[in-house]
């Protein structure tokens, strides 16, 4: 007796619950009928990586995926194993640096983004990972001049310096005279012989101060550094590819890299530029905006309205 009575109440309760659940579902957000799947996006422990991870993540969310974020996860030594073990599905990488990480510093990277990416993929393949199409946006060593110097000599690329190098002073970290990507590379690849070299730092406070008081004309900086614009510095194009191709590139698990995910990320990557990185980095590092808001604004500009 008792048990029959109980089970009928249980059925009634269950029916009520189902009704409430479906009612809630129909009054909810609406558009995505069901998530296309869940992806975990990670980022390195610096602001630019958080911005890029947010851009990838929000674009995929816009396409109907459910995204978990693991931002500021750590260095590549932490992030790469997490990807291999499947704890994360993708992270925004840099072609040359990631290649030299996965090949254990074999020195295979060069200035060609496509060749570097192909090499990178040959190392990722056996690990069940893949790198997508590299973006034109790069975060790499670059040589900058002040806008005054740029106008005075009408400069746009590094090869423009070959003729006038004898009048200019180069500033960079003290290791620059012995590093192939720095002074010797500028001499060998571009034939630039500077009047003098001033040992400073790599895109740090000394280099800024030296640009400011005019004691250097050309300085080593990072191409996507957020305060290049506000400092009145212009990066000269590396037209002969002296620097390794550290183009922004999504690195992900093959299992997660469906045709749809790949096409969403490749479309984003194609639109991203180094100038965008400079602007967004300055919004986060200097104006202290949140990476997710900066990423959302970029996506809105490019017609990904969430």
């Amino acid at each position: 007796m008792n048990s029959r009575f109980d089970s009928s109440r249980f059925l009634a309760a269950l029916a009520a619950l189902v009704f409430v659940a479906t009612a809630c579902g129909s009054t909810g957000s609406g558009t995505p009928t069901a998530s296309k799947g869940t992806l975990t996006v990670a980022g390195f422990n610096f602001p630019e990586s958080s911005i890029l991870a947010e851009i990838y993540g929000q674009a995929l969310a816009h396409d109907g995926y459910t995204i978990n974020y693991k931002l500021l996860l750590g260095t590549r030594e932490v992030v790469a194993p997490a990807l291999e073990s499947g704890q994360i599905d993708l992270y925004p990488g840099y072609a040359a640096t990631d290649l030299e990480f996965y090949n254990k510093g074999a020195g295979e990277a060069n200035g060609d983004a496509v060749a570097t990416t192909a090499k990178l993929n040959s190392h990722l393949q056996p690990l069940g990972l893949t790198a997508l199409t590299p973006s034109p946006a790069v975060d790499q060593n670059a040589f900058a001049v002040t806008t005054d110097t740029q106008k005075k000599y009408n400069l746009s690329k590094l090869s423009d310096l070959a003729a006038i190098g004898g009048q200019l002073t180069l500033g960079a970290g003290p290791e620059c005279p012995t590093r192939p990507f720095c002074q010797p590379g500028l001499q060998k690849t571009y034939g630039i012989n500077f009047k003098a070299f001033k040992p400073l730092d790599t895109d740090g406070p000394l280099t800024r101060a030296a640009f400011k008081n005019g004691s250097i004309d050309v300085g080593l900086v990072f191409s996507s550094d957020g305060d290049l614009n506000s400092l009145g510095l212009v990066v000269l194009q590396d037209d002969k590819h002296l620097e390794n191709a550290d183009n922004v590139i999504p690195i992900m698990r093959q299992a997660a890299a469906s045709a749809e995910v790949t096409s969403v990320l490749n479309a984003i990557n194609a639109k991203l530029t180094t100038a965008d990185l400079v602007t967004m980095n300055s919004q986060v590092s200097i104006q202290h905006q949140d990476a997710d808001a900066v990423a959302a604004a970029w996506l809105q500009q490019h017609n990904y309205n969430n």
Binding site: G173, K198, A210
Partner: protein
């Protein structure tokens, strides 16, 4: 041992003896900034120490303040001065002057305090005015201690001027900083040897200056005292 041979070879290389990164130019830079710092430091510290020692007032206060100065890390001061003054020699000078002042204040104060009150009274009795008494009687007697203060300052400043290279300055510190950045440990070691040699040379040459400045009578007095001490010891 091969490391030492490399350093010897480094010094033998004529390329390291010419140009803006050559040893002669770096030596001039190093001496220049050090000399400026010690000179400015002396202009500030000696009048204070001498006046306080002469009048015998506020001595503890001055010594305590200058001892706090000793506790200031030069590197920290250099970084702060760089933020304020930007690139150039000025921030280095600020840090080095701050380092140079304390030993000179303390030593000149003590030097003047230690002058025998009987001698001061005798000078007064002979009709010396206060300034004459200070310049002709007290200062000569205080020279050994005042000079010891200058010597201590100068050696510390020469050793510390190495830091200038951290904010793109010159001097022997260039070899140390650049050698480290370039993983050229021969250059680094050669730089350290040069700094040490210059510090020792500073000590020796200032001892010579001190010998010249100490009045002959006091020198004889000291010599006799030393002999006497030796006699007592052997006796």
């Amino acid at each position: 041992m091969t490391h030492l041979a490399n350093v010897v070879q480094w010094f033998a290389d004529p390329a390291h003896w010419r140009g803006s990164d050559g040893i002669p130019n770096r030596l001039v830079e190093h001496i220049q900034i050090s000399a400026e710092a010690v000179a400015i430091g002396a202009l500030i510290a000696l009048p204070i120490g001498i006046a306080l020692g002469h009048y015998g007032r506020f001595g503890n206060l001055a010594i305590n303040i200058s001892n706090v100065g000793r506790a200031l890390p030069s590197f920290g001061l250099l970084v702060i001065a760089f933020q304020v003054f930007g690139l150039g020699n000025l921030p280095v000078l600020v840090a080095l002057v701050a380092l140079a002042i304390p030993p000179m204040v303390t030593n000149s104060y003590v030097g003047l305090r230690e002058v025998d009150p009987d001698v001061k009274e005798a000078a007064r009795g002979m009709g010396y005015r206060e300034l004459a008494q200070l310049v002709r009687v007290e200062l000569p007697l205080a020279v050994p201690l005042v000079m010891a203060g200058i010597r201590t300052s100068a050696v510390q400043v020469v050793a510390t001027a190495t830091l200038a290279a951290l904010i793109a300055g010159g001097g022997f510190g260039r070899y140390v900083i650049d050698g480290f950045a370039q993983q050229d440990y021969t250059k680094l070691f050669a730089g350290a040897v040069l700094v040490a040699a210059l510090a020792m040379a500073t000590e020796l040459s200032l001892s010579g200056v001190e010998w010249l400045l100490v009045p002959r009578g006091i020198r004889l007095l000291q010599a006799r005292a030393a002999n006497r001490a030796a006699t007592f010891k052997t006796a």
